[in-house]
Symmetry: D2
Subunit: 357 residues, 4 copies
């Protein structure tokens, strides 16, 4: 049985590069030989034991690669084709999918819904920080990479770009809207780029790390508020002449940013939440206008599926958005533990790393 | 200067019937002679001092009456016409109105938005628990009552029915949806009726007062869960075969109902909140699926304006919904202090009272 | 090779009952033993040669039956289970499906879209007017029938009810809306029922056959206009006090009904078209307000998939709508040519027939 | 009675500069001293007698100016303020407005709806190709011009930009969409800019005038198809690899462009129509997929009101879109007949003219 290298969760605090068998595939699956992948903030949560996964699991949910082998029932693809798959790999046939809520795919459950059920790579099945990965429901999930796009150009599509853009989309941004984006890590930066892409007219980013503040402007922010120098709620009130923003995007996952996202909203505004929270949240009575402010709070899990991937790659191909500046460091798969160390401690101005087997 | 009787907020704990001048009207206003009105749960909050209003203010925001006099710039109406106006009286010309968010009307502010700015009667201007009321922006707000409908038939339109129905509408209910409605007071009952009206296929009401449980069935509930006999979250999970509901409607304004409304949602579901809260709210991490459940939480303030009123009266006229059973007690305006006492203490199975000057 | 009886398209003018092999199934398919099915107006178009299909094809797209055999990759079902499948059987994994437009499924095409691609039964693959039918993409399409519902209760779900309801849904009906439904054949009757179900407040049906006019009232129409006795456009203008309707539903597929559907709309209204047209259509300049009326014209092909079927069966199970009165005649499969004759000529007040093998 | 110069419709074929009294204003009106205005394609229809207006009417619906006088009931503005008003001036209080359909404002009608009722300037009341104009319902319609924006920068907001952008908005464009825009006159160019602004990923413009083709690229088109050199339907099919476009925008008002806009749509796509048609339209059976293609055809009349204007000016102020290149010629009001001659005959590469009293 041929073996491969893979980054494996051993126990809280330890993800190590080890060997395991190359995956078998079923009739609906595909085997992908990974050419480039990356590490996500969620993987750091897994590493720290804050998000539980099975011991021995291969981590990683952002695959770029080449089709090595196709399941017997898979049609429409050929071996050797360059592809990506989303971090979320819906089945296409669950009740959730048929309701258009693919991320909450519950294929196999009695009723067809499962919280975060579409997130399988590096969560409920082996992920892609490895030489090979099995992609389930390949016909729903494999998206061919257009000629002329490099691995690094499409590396953000599976998760960061899809998630960040969805923050803007879930905000139902309209022409003329003012949008605040809290935190400018990779997801917040993509939310900024997404808000710009779909017509936000004034974008206010909130961040304090100088390099991220600079990148926020590059991704489309009109104003960048340093929350260490001014209260961002007051500053945003000032910038909007007292009105507040139409849409705020939370891209960190903390009480203070959630609460500020609510407080800066005008009545009738939408809080689009992307953060992964790790404790109960408090909704302040005044920020919520006692429940009478016609507010919407919407959370969005990264949209996946091959059509989403195709669309995001079109955005890249058309030159509308360029996510390459987000890739600040590059490692071989053999060096992945080093990459985890750098990324996990946010050293050296890291935004995203590229890992190549 | 001719005088009239009016229910006036004197201080926390005291709303009394007193005399004050019949209101003057400006060019865009109308003077309405009240023929029937009612008391709202919000008025009880005012009475108790939980919601602050100016001392001396006339209370009440649910007017049925006859046009006594029209402002010089008002066109399209005639004196003597029977009309209602919504509890919320938007101007029609603020930025909020032009964005379709009439309840948050900010006419007169720099930017055109104001939290709850559309709620004026018995809040920022004199209300309608009186012999006469001044209706501002009359052309936006006066809705003629169709012949053949009695005062009591349309008495719920200005607030209870508009609010309750909006709870269903904000839930974006689709054919085949299962909907839970927490609390079956007058607003919850109208939310139940509204959910039924727009296609909810299974409606689960949560309540414990027997008369309200019975009324919930009459208004369209398929199941009524007595929360004193079973944990409603578990019971709703059981009734939905483990899936949860597509939409939940909170119609009370308390932490426990808010939290239960979230916990019973399927991933991707919507919590439509109608309650007026009186303290910070907690979002439980698990019920919120750590922010990854594709949830929507939406609050809605009672939609007003003459077109909304016309539509609701059409619902009554067509026989689709009958809100008369909600009127359980009747008083003269002279007896309004007695009515407040009964309604405020929810004695004698009261749901809503009709007050006639 | 075991054989079965099936209604086969031989040539324009001839659909005959003949024998053919029981279908083989692939890994994603299921074989269903039909217990009840019906004939659709579209089948009559096929019979007459107005809609071309391959000679030798088994006709029929409204299956009720029992799972006889499951493909090797199908999970979540068991043999012997009672099921239905929609007339439209999307794959779940095409670009169209992933965009939420399952009816236009283009699985197998280069780009994932195909006009009417989701309609396979009795169109591009063998249908269900037979003893057995192969259901493709079984996990996307098989919907278990709840205990307690008879075959005839769910017989309208696969097509007529799904299509008719979608006419109302595509109209984006709101509380207080007035809706006109042109033609009260089976689909128009279900559009009437659907409009009622989702909150249309005044429903005006247009028809001339007395039995259908009567059934229209039973399905929820408030007014029925006999177009042989009055011009329906004028009559609807009169009934709406000159305003026109908010939504009109075309359920016949002819120029005159399409045109009238447009002419009765208020500015800003929506024409929801369900008809299958057989020639170019004319949009009258005045009815279209020269393109300046903020009109929407939307066509909808029958929504399919197991979740849609589950939802429709819930509507039946909850007692919200009862489609049994639409089944006016019953035949054995052996008598299907007789059934075609009766149904094709609309004799004896036929609305829908039930066919039982 | 003081008099002013105004461009007046005398009879078909003749719009002349003449003198008439400066308008009186009512309590809800404002008098604006025009500083810049322009001529619209619609005005040419009026000139030619193709669109009927009253003889003696002042033409023009795109005002930039200064508040000269405010009606007695108008609040929130001051004399001397620089403002614009939209081409469409809704009342804010009609049923149409309260339904969010401001362009079809029917203030004064029995039911509150009127086809194109929001279009008043130069249609049902005197327009703004004059030294002064009366703005009705001033509080709904006057939008202050931000400091730092010149008249010419905001001159396209009242009509061309609002209309063009609405073509994109009515198409409900999503990230990754391919959009075709038929005709690149001023409105088509703004539709192209609007599609780009809200996230269209591939934009295909259809035009044949070289200068307009070049401007199309400048406004955001990725491809420009010269319909005199290739069949645009075939060319767009080729560019989209056979799939068709997600959204097409018709910006001319002719049968051939309407028909092509439909033919290039993928199933499930949306035809957003901006053109003003002058004869019945034909919907080709095949392009319409016999009514089974899940198509949407939506027409949009220029959105107006002060909030729309504010939003468009924000787009200009933020640098997102620059419409100045559309102003190709400048005239004094005294030369307006000359301007009509140039613009009406599309001489000298004219796109839009600026007229300054």
């Amino acid at each position: 049985m041929p073996r491969m290298k893979a980054a494996i969760f051993v126990e809280p605090g330890r993800i190590v590069l080890d060997e395991k068998p190359i995956p078998d595939i079923g009739p609906l699956d595909a085997l992908i030989r990974i050419t480039t992948t990356t590490i996500c903030g969620t993987d750091i949560h897994i590493l720290k034991g804050e998000y539980p996964v099975a011991r021995g699991l291969t981590i990683g949910h952002e695959p770029v690669g080449v089709i090595e082998k196709l399941g017997s029932a898979v049609q429409g693809y050929r071996e050797g084709q360059r592809v990506i798959a989303g971090a979320i790999t819906p089945s296409g046939h669950s009740a959730a999918c048929l309701c258009g809520c693919h991320s909450q795919d519950g294929a196999g459950t009695r009723h067809g819904w499962k919280p975060m059920g579409g997130w399988r790579f590096g969560n409920t099945i082996d992920g892609c920080q490895a030489e090979f990965v099995r992609v389930p429901d390949a016909m729903t999930n494999l998206a061919p990479v257009p000629d002329g796009l490099t691995d690094e150009q499409v590396l953000m599509c599976p998760d960061i770009m899809s998630t960040g853009f969805s923050g803007a989309e879930s905000g139902r941004i309209r022409i003329g809207d003012t949008v605040a984006v809290f935190a400018q890590g990779p997801i917040g930066l993509c939310a900024t780029a997404g808000a710009r892409l779909i017509g936000a007219t004034t974008i206010i980013a909130v961040e304090s790390v100088p390099k991220r503040m600079e990148m926020a402007r590059r991704m489309g922010a009109d104003h960048v508020v340093d929350f260490t120098k001014a209260d961002p709620v007051e500053e945003i009130r000032r910038l909007t002449d007292g009105r507040g923003v139409d849409v705020s995007i939370e891209a960190l996952g903390r009480q203070e940013t959630f609460e500020a996202s609510l407080r800066v909203l005008r009545p009738g505004g939408t809080l689009s939440s992307l953060g992964v929270y790790s404790s109960d949240l408090k909704i302040p009575l005044d920020g919520f206008m006692a429940g009478l402010g016609d507010h919407t709070i919407r959370t969005t899990l990264c949209p996946g599926g091959k059509e989403r991937m195709r669309r995001l790659m079109e955005v890249i191909a058309s030159g509308r958005v360029d996510t390459r500046p987000l890739v600040t460091h590059r490692f071989k798969l053999d060096q992945i533990e080093e990459a985890y160390d750098l990324f996990g401690h946010q050293r050296d101005g890291v935004l995203k790393v590229a890992i190549t087997p």
